[in-house]
């Protein structure tokens, strides 16, 4: 077994990114698609923190990761409100059925 280093964190992040992308591509329910997006953002955050740890660029990666978390929180709140509105209008949150813009 080789020593755990930057590679291991990058590969973990790649796997999590792929799983999140799979959720975004294949899930029907809008809320699970949102969960996939959160997973993708987390994978990106692991990369930021890993590079901040294993290079000499200081702590900037962690600062950026905090901004990513803030943006994800704002995005989740707005997306949830949109999903609830879609449910109120169309009585479904399945992305293949919510295909009408009219009331």
């Amino acid at each position: 077994m080789i020593q755990v280093g930057l590679h291991h964190f990058l590969i973990l992040s790649a796997v999590l990114f792929s799983l999140g992308l799979l959720a975004v591509l294949t899930k029907k329910n809008a809320v699970t698609v949102l969960m996939g997006i959160e997973l993708i953002l987390n994978a990106a955050n692991i990369n930021f923190v890993a590079f901040a740890r294993y290079t000499d660029n200081g702590i900037h990666g962690q600062v950026f990761a905090v901004f990513v978390i803030v943006t994800a929180a704002a995005g989740a709140a707005v997306a949830l409100a949109i999903v609830l509105n879609i449910y109120k209008q169309l009585k479904t949150v399945n992305l293949d059925e919510a295909d009408s813009l009219a009331r």
């Binding site: 077994m1 755990v4 280093g5 930057l6 590679h7 291991h8 964190f9 590969i11 973990l12 790649a14 796997v15 999590l16 792929s18 799983l19 992308l21 799979l22 959720a23 591509l25 294949t26 899930k27 329910n29 809320v31 699970t32 949102l34 969960m35 996939g36 959160e38 997973l39 987390n42 955050n45 692991i46 923190v49 890993a50 901040a52 740890r53 294993y54 290079t55 702590i59 900037h60 962690q62 600062v63 990761a65 905090v66 901004f67 978390i69 994800a72 929180a73 704002a74 995005g75 989740a76 709140a77 707005v78 949830l80 409100a81 949109i82 609830l84 449910y87 949150v93 399945n94 992305l95």
Partner: protein, 165 residues
């Protein structure tokens, strides 16, 4: 193999397995619980990377906030009559193929690149340093982020309110 390596493998396996549960589960509540454990394991990975402030932030905002919000979203938008709490999948085979190809490409790229990797120094607490960055060279993004959060909260509350009829 030291304690750092062992704990990395434990938490990485936990994160990947719970993310897989989130992706492949049919029940929406199982999806949410899978995401919960994946996010908690990612917080542990942050601790291994020496990011103590970020790990606490992750636990408070993701596990405590965003996940509760997602559960609200699920429970407000399904009827609790059995079948409706499940979610189907679309285009599973093409999705799997595309994602497997992308994952293979990424891993190949990661393994073949000569990363300019340094040995990490001693762990130091990061909170004071992050706060100093927020108040000096990241001041504008910090203020913009606060305004963004305010706008998002007002917008979400406005959109999700019940109209009086």
């Amino acid at each position: 193999m030291n304690a750092f390596d062992i704990s990395f493998y434990i938490f990485a396996a936990g994160a990947v397995v719970s993310a897989a549960v989130m992706v492949f589960a049919r029940n929406l509540i199982y999806c949410a619980v899978g995401l919960l454990f994946a996010l908690a394991n990612v917080a542990a990975i942050y601790v291994l990377l020496g990011a103590d402030f970020l790990a606490a932030t992750q636990l408070m905002i993701y596990v405590g906030g965003i996940l509760a919000l997602l559960l609200f979203g699920i429970m407000l938008s399904v009827k609790f009559t059995g079948v409706e709490l499940r979610t189907g999948t679309l285009q599973m085979l093409p999705g799997l193929l595309v994602v497997a190809g992308l994952l293979g490409l990424l891993i190949r790229m990661i393994l073949r690149t000569e990363w300019a990797m340094l040995e990490p120094g001693e762990f130091q607490p990061t909170t004071a340093s992050i706060g100093r960055h927020f108040m000096t060279d990241y001041l504008i993004p910090f203020e913009v982020a606060s305004v963004l959060l305010l706008v998002a909260l007002i917008g979400a509350a406005y959109m999700a309110r019940r109209e009086k009829s």
